[in-house]
Amino acid sequence: MEISHTAPDYTAPVGRGSGYSAPGIGGILTRPRHIAPLAVLRMAFGLIMLISTIRFIAKGWVREFYVAPKFYFPFYGFEWVHPLPAIGMYIVFALMVLTTIGITLGLFYQVSVITFFLCFVYVELLDKSYYLNHYYFVTLITFLLMLVPAGRYFSLDVWRRPSLKVTHVPSWMIGIFQAQLCLVYFYAGLSKLTYDWLIAAMPLKIWLPANAGMPVIGPLLKQTWVAYAFSWFGAIFDLTIGPLLLYAPTRKIAYVFVVLFHVLTGLLFKIGMFPYIMIAVTIIFLIHPRDDHSPIPFRLSTGKRKILYPLLLIYALLQLALPFRYLLYPGKLYWTEEGYRFSWRVMLMEKGGITFFYVKDPRTGRRGEVINTQFLTPLQERMMQTQPDMILQYAHHLHDIYDAKGIKDPVVTVESYVTLNGGGSRLYIDSTIDLARQQESFLPKKWILPYQP
């Protein structure tokens, strides 16, 4: 194999019922390509997720996040998803370790990748306190990996059963990952084109001096111009890296930038495995093997195509549209966070809050303040305090708890203060509203007070 800049000289077995066809856009998408990029992606992604899962377990987060809490914040519509007893949660994580090994080695690939997907999504749905963009990203990549035969080349499955071997796949099977990556970077870049990021250099102006103790570059990080340089470079990087990775002459140097960018952000910010996941997955742009002499194409049955193509079309439209759904809501996005998740808005705001919840007995008028740490872990409390949908979920939980304790249908209100990007803290939620009577929905939440700049 050789990394080649020129498109492979290739005569593919084209025929009906094979999934390869026709000229035009459809032709480009279904043109056969060597499967090596998928095999490499499979190994890189499997390995990094194996490391990530082991790290998660080693840090004691299974217990801390999914066993210790008394209350969880499920996603809207997924309130029926609950954690298993401790032993069950550990089994789920053990399964993730096994299946990431399976994915990496290409051993029982199909079973492994589907099981990993189910386990990972299950865990993510349990509590939105731990939502991270890169967990969403992992979910998407795993979903896409379920749809492609990444285990049928350079894998133990092929070694066991050589008949499984495939050397060529329709090019969309590789392109879909590249498109996903380009979309992530581009949307992340778009979300940086704001006054706060570009003109005020926020929140980097707050975050960078936090690393003033770092060797060599530490003292630089205190300088204001460095915050501006990082902000502008970050925005330009995100907006342009996709095309630069796709364009053959710039591909290699672009990947060097990917590695440098992510390693640097990994050193500066507490963002866990995210940089390394991106470095691993982006490898897919680099693999351009010379073709085998006796190609074995992967054949996609007509039935499967009839399911897959519409599914992928819907997937693509959703991916394109979701980050823009915030336009349907009034107010400042960073303040209300309506339409914030699943939109590749990464490291954009320094937000802190505090909430004083009150429970009132409607009959006696007696009111008491809740001590949040009695019901939430410190991490859950911190995440809840700046996110209105979580404030609402917690208020409902308090209603139920005190109702069960004998205060019939209590009134739950909150006095909450939030500071955004270094601005002074302001009242966040209408403190007169009985949150127990407000329902979660996709409609705008009228009880979030408007942002006062």
Binding site: F65, I287, R367, G424
Partner: protein, 377 residues
């Protein structure tokens, strides 16, 4: 195919190397020192405020402990009065050191000073321990039967009959040994923490003054988190719960027995001492300091708040809170019934101060408020 393997292995190596790099990078970042303002702030806080607070507490509990031994050998009214005074001194000194319970040597699984002040104390358990002569106070079962609240009960609950409890009472000998055991436990625990901080012992003071930056694990991050967690106890446990403002199960009227130091009746003094200690950390000045404190970070960064400076807003809130708390007379257990409005006022200002110290200050300094752990993105 072999080349794919080589390329893949090379990629994996890069990733693993960079993971390791990031680990070693964050380790070294804490140990580098650069001359600058932030260093002098940590030096002042460490050497002039934190260490002296622990030293004062250790001196106070050592003195209390030897006086209790002396009292036990020949109990009389003078000696009783003396240890009651020494107890109050030590309890007040505790209030100026509890702010550091969640960093460094004190921050064990059960932070040391907090464990010595679990109130309301379990007087039934203390009585039964005395009855069966169980002096083994440092156990999980005796969490609420030791520390300062236990001394408070042992030295003040019987009023005029206290001396008799240690002389003529049928269980006098048992009670004397229990008193000594509680005091000795306090002494051991406090001195262990002091040793952990001291340059001649665990030398955490050096770790503290050189822990630059404002990550969660930096000295500033640890200190702000610890101080904030401690300050919430003032608002919630010292004022809110006794006032009946916090639902313990069901919202209730005032709860006099929930005050700190119920029997000696010095609750308001203790609360004031804690407030002033937190104010001292903020101003970098609690008697000995040179005025370089948390406020210095805010002033240096020129952080604004509603048109003015955040540093001024917080200073004013502290002053107001001190004034309000000074207006609350002891015993607090009676004040919350006779004049709840005065305690309410102090509670409200304390709440305002909690909001400023927990949101605006850390956010302005880029310090993450978390007592847990997770990645961000």
């Amino acid at each position: 195919m072999q080349r794919i393997a080589i390329l893949f292995l090379a990629g994996a190596a890069i990733i693993i190397l960079s993971v390791n790099c990031s680990k070693s990078g964050s380790k070294t970042s804490g140990s580098t020192t650069t001359a600058g303002n932030n260093d002098s702030i940590l030096l002042n806080l460490g050497n002039n405020i934190i260490l002296p607070s622990y030293q004062a507490l250790a001196t106070a509990v050592n003195s209390l402990d030897s006086s209790i031994d002396d009292f036990n050998t020949s109990p009389n009214t003078t000696k009783l009065t003396n240890i009651q005074v020494l107890f109050k001194n030590a309890y007040l000194a505790w209030q100026s050191a509890s702010e550091y319970d969640y960093l460094g040597p004190a921050s064990t699984n059960q932070p040391v000073l907090s464990a010595l002040n679990v109130w309301p104390t379990n007087n039934t358990l203390i009585d039964s321990n005395v009855s069966v002569n169980n002096d083994n106070v440092n156990t999980f079962a005796n969490t609420a039967a030791k520390g300062f609240p236990a001394l408070d009960y042992l030295l003040f609950s019987a009023g005029g009959n206290t001396l008799a409890n240690y002389t003529t009472d049928a269980e006098a000998a048992h009670r004397s040994s229990y008193l000594a055991a509680v005091s000795a436990d306090i002494k051991t625990e406090v001195n262990a923490v002091l040793t952990g901080w001291s340059a001649s012992g665990g030398n955490y003071i050096n770790t503290f003054v050189t822990g630059e930056g404002n990550s969660v694990s930096s000295s500033l991050g640890l200190l702000i988190n610890s101080m904030d967690e401690d300050f919430e106890i003032l608002k919630n446990d010292r004022l809110g719960i006794p006032l009946g403002l916090i639902p313990v199960g069901v919202t209730s009227p005032v709860l006099p027995k929930e005050v700190e130091a119920y029997y000696s009746g010095i609750s308001a003094q203790l609360a004031l001492a804690q407030l002033k200690a937190v104010q001292g950390i903020f101003l970098g000045n609690s008697g000995k300091g040179n005025g370089l404190g948390l406020v210095t970070y805010l002033t240096n960064a020129g952080v604004k708040y509603n048109g003015g400076l955040l540093s001024d807003t917080i200073k004013t809130a502290f002053t107001l809170d001190v004034t309000d708390l000074q207006a609350v007379p002891d015993p607090l257990s009676q004040t919350i019934q006779s004049n709840p409005a005065s305690v309410q006022a102090a509670f409200t200002v304390s709440q305002k101060l909690v909001a400023l110290l927990k949101t605006d200050m850390p956010s302005a300094l880029g310090v993450l408020i978390t007592y847990g752990d997770n990645d961000g993105d």
